[in-house]
Subunit: 223 residues, 2 copies
């Protein structure tokens, strides 16, 4: 159970949700729960049933596809101010989660049960279009991801990752491999080749982008 003012304050801080009206919030606030988790906590596993709709206040959720062999691939991240779209999908469709959700950073969220979620959707146009927008972005992103995984080579995928996530990435090769759905050795070798081409500089648990223009070029049509 969450204080209405608190929920309101939380929602108000989120882009696009500032104007959810008071009446709509009553029911949701009464039913909502505050959730706090430490980094690394698992929110859901593939096959789990979905019980509530969550709005992330701080920290992130990394949504990861798992292979039978234990390999991983990050599908997307839920940022503060967003809701987990798989959760919406699974709630509405009654399907089990198709992926794992892992907490990154100090995590706080508000969990709203299905009934209250429906009520919010029905009563607040702002809330509604916020949810639509989230799902829209996710859908298009996933379609792009499918293309990249199906058609892109690993150097291109890594180039894209490096360009997207800042000029400096403090991740081990194993962690990078889990981002892109590959294995440590391969990532090591590909990174080494990128370094040989003068595109990045490597250090223990760190990749630094040196030639971002070159990386962008590689990202598109490798030649």
């Amino acid at each position: 159970m969450v204080d209405e003012g608190e929920l309101r304050a939380a929602l108000a801080s989120l882009a696009g949700l500032a104007r959810v009206d008071l009446g709509s919030l009553r029911g949701a606030a009464a039913a909502a729960q505050r959730i706090t988790l430490a980094s690394g906590a698992v929110l859901f596993e593939p096959g789990d049933a979905c019980r509530a709709f969550g709005i992330v206040l701080s920290g992130r959720v990394r949504v990861v596809a798992l292979s039978a062999a234990g390999r991983e691939l990050v599908l997307y991240r839920v940022q503060p101010g967003e809701a987990c779209t798989v959760t919406v999908s699974c709630l509405l469709g009654g399907t089990p989660y198709p992926a794992r959700g892992v907490v990154e950073g100090a995590f706080e969220a508000v969990a709203v049960p299905l009934a209250a979620f429906r009520h919010l959707v029905d009563s607040s146009p702002d809330f509604r279009s916020w949810v639509f927008a989230l799902m829209s972005v996710r859908l298009v992103d996933l379609m792009r991801l499918v293309s990249e995984v199906a058609f892109g080579k690993l150097d291109q995928r890594l180039a894209a990752l490096l360009l997207d996530r800042g000029p400096r990435l403090a991740l081990s090769h194993q962690e990078l491999a889990s981002e892109v759905g590959s294995t440590r050795e391969i990532v090591s070798r590909v990174l080494e080749s990128l370094q040989d081409q003068g595109l990045v500089r490597l250090a223990r648990r760190q990749v630094e982008v040196v030639d971002s223009a070159g990386l962008s070029q590689l990202r598109r049509g490798a030649y």
Copy 2:
């Protein structure tokens, strides 16, 4: 411009849309357009801007990712009674299409412009939850597709395709390759190997499932 009764009849024939109320339809009907296209027509190309929301009455839309090298991969199909979810995403997000949409079969659809779509969403809870349900299913399907493409071998992907699409598939190897995002030669060889294992029977432009139990087994953990 579409007659209100006609639009109503069209919507009424669709699962989950039977009860969209009359008032909500007025605006939509006035703005809606009837679309008829022949099989093979291209609805949209990657990069195109999205102009209207379409509900498919008959025929299907095949949504396809394209690689720089000209390879293809079917992301999903929009069946009669469904709406194209990329279209919703692109409309709401203002993003260009990330894929190609191709008509299959004799195609009829009702196209509703963005404003009228928004009005329908706002005024009809039934319409709303129908759209949510569509997007939910798509999202989960796409996540599964990412996993399959990233972790599955081609024989598994083909096995899944054969199991999903009836005991008999009348497609050329090139068409099968375009379904799964591979090339003709590879598909030919994999199919031959499936035939050697007694799982399918091949003929010109035809694949027949012989041992569906075996195919299911292959589909999961190839051993």
